[in-house]
Symmetry: C2
Subunit: 347 residues, 2 copies
């Protein structure tokens, strides 16, 4: 049995993902110790409006869940008043931040502030928020390097499959030349619902009723979510230094039911296709979100609904494709879990 | 720049894969040193009938290629007579064996002997031959563990994508519950050629003429290759302790052109589907190679030709799919290269 190392975790965000993380860690506490020599202790848990936990001595994941369960009848999950994440992080003496606050379409400024505070104060940082990676990756990576800390984010893009660690750990020395992906499930659902015969507005309402689209669906429909995923992947895997603003975006608002039906009759599917490639050696990376009709011969034809898929074109290993089939909060939480192990093992 | 560690490599097999490995290492020698602190020196290279190289002081990959190029007009690639791989390995004082001898449908007995010799004499071992993993994995893994050596085989199954290291490095603590895959390109090509209207014999001849089937195609057509891949994956990722003999196999010999055409008219595809799952917790793993008709809703519908794909059903990360698009000798060689780095980095 390896020697036990304790990591002191500050968890910001205790929604579905934060809770699932605690449940997963609680269930696997023995395995983490026996297999990896890792003991995770929560020194702080922050929420926006449901109180906070500050426990510099550290509590186990099971204890954290018990504390929260005890208070479920009350307004707060945790005994102390909610306080700003940065304050909580610094007061806790954490050596790793897990940033799982809700997504913020405005570029994740809150998450960025949390990550900066961690990296600037000798803590490693894990985030499941794609905002910081899409909008500010180069600066945050430089900050981490300057402080000899690590920034990991497996759950930030395609949280149902390990796309970043695939590249980092399984494709050493490979260069990513470009990628092609179906990245957004909401638009998949809407385009498929239109294929059943309705127009855009009816399809959107149907998909919203089924819980597959936000109340304000513009972020998905107009390509902003897809552009953020393109920028995040390109920033990390191609050193693109881009933001979602650099990515031209097709919206699906003006797609007609006739167009979707015609494609379907021809055995083809309309999809929001996300691409990036480098223009010439050392040239800039160009991304695009565009509406495309995919035939059955296309490797992304099977992507649809909550099946998201990316084709990674590499220099040494040809084209490798990885896909997720649904991404539940459990899977996002597992992304954090695998990042915690990767941190511990120096991967 | 990290301190340089030299690994002494004995390469058995100098066909396309062995040569491509030397070319890749020669091209990346500086990167291996600068990025990984790894220097690879070849202390022996063995071939079946084209001579051998024994150079206990070690030559670089570029030097090995020059030696071989100098002799291309002669019968031999290397100056010394060919000799048994085990002799060469032991005489060389290698600390890592790269086993890249040609595939041997009879279970890879020669490759197994090479791996045994390496692991039993304090060398790590890498193989791209699926035979040892399909037929004898449990014993070889135990031998490696007893000698505190490692056995890696990224290029042995799905050599165009990193399926083993995906599991090992990106899905820590995940259990594989089962998998579903299209694993054999020859049968893909034959079934698709039959869809153009010909019968089995005509399709086989066409695919053989195009170089996509062996002169003796029984190994592919009767499911032996697919069963070996199932056993290899199940042995490594599910501790199945099975052999290809344990896997029932459909042959495609009796498929009629009418059946293929009918499926195609219905927008469906006939495929040789490879599956494995554990029967109950702790129960045995059952594999099967069976002919199946896949509709466009199936996640393996896009697999075909040289696109091979596997759906991995896990306990913690849901279903993750990984696919390769063609597998050239360059990619098999890259699998070895990534294994060499994984060995060096203790991954």
């Amino acid at each position: 049995m390896p020697e036990l190392v304790t990591r002191r975790v500050c968890l910001l965000g205790f929604g579905k993902v934060g809770r699932r993380l605690c449940e997963l860690v609680a269930r696997n506490d023995d395995e983490l110790a026996a297999r990896h020599g890792l003991r995770l202790r929560f020194v702080a848990i922050g929420t926006a409006g449901h109180g906070s936990l500050l426990a510099p001595a550290g509590v186990s994941a099971a204890e954290a869940l018990e504390l929260a369960a005890d208070r479920e009848s009350e307004r707060r999950a945790f005994p102390e008043p909610a306080r700003p994440g940065v304050d909580l992080l610094l007061a806790s003496g954490a050596d790793v931040l897990v940033e799982a606050t809700p997504l913020d379409p405005q570029g994740g400024r809150l998450a960025i502030a949390h990550l900066e505070a961690a990296l600037g104060h000798d803590a490693d940082a894990i985030t499941v928020n794609k905002g910081p990676i899409a909008w500010d990756y180069r600066r945050l990576a430089a900050l981490a390097a300057a402080h000899r800390r690590r920034l990991l984010f497996e759950g930030a893009v395609m949280d149902g499959c390990p796309v970043f660690s695939l590249f980092r750990s399984c494709l050493p020395d490979c260069r990513l030349l470009g990628f092609e992906a179906v990245f957004n499930s909401t638009t998949n659902f809407i385009l498929d619902a239109m294929g059943e015969g309705g127009g855009f507005a009816a399809a959107l309402a149907q998909v919203q009723a089924a819980g597959y689209a936000e109340a304000d669906p513009a972020h998905d429909i107009d390509g902003h979510d897809a552009a953020a995923k393109i920028a995040a992947l390109a920033n990390v895997l191609m050193d693109a230094g881009m933001t979602p603003d650099d990515v031209p975006k097709d919206s699906i608002r003006d797609v007609t039911a006739e167009r979707v039906s015609a494609a379907r009759r021809a055995g083809r599917r309309l999809r929001v296709l996300c691409t990036a490639q480098r223009n010439g050696a050392g040239g800039p990376v160009r991304g695009a979100v565009r509406l495309a009709e995919l035939g059955p011969e296309h490797p992304l034809f099977s992507a649809g609904g909550s099946t998201l898929s990316v084709l990674l074109r590499t220099d040494l290993m040809g084209t490798v494709q990885i896909a997720e089939h649904g991404a539940l909060p459990e899977q996002t939480a597992y992304g954090i879990y695998s990042d915690l192990i990767a941190l511990h093992e120096g991967r």
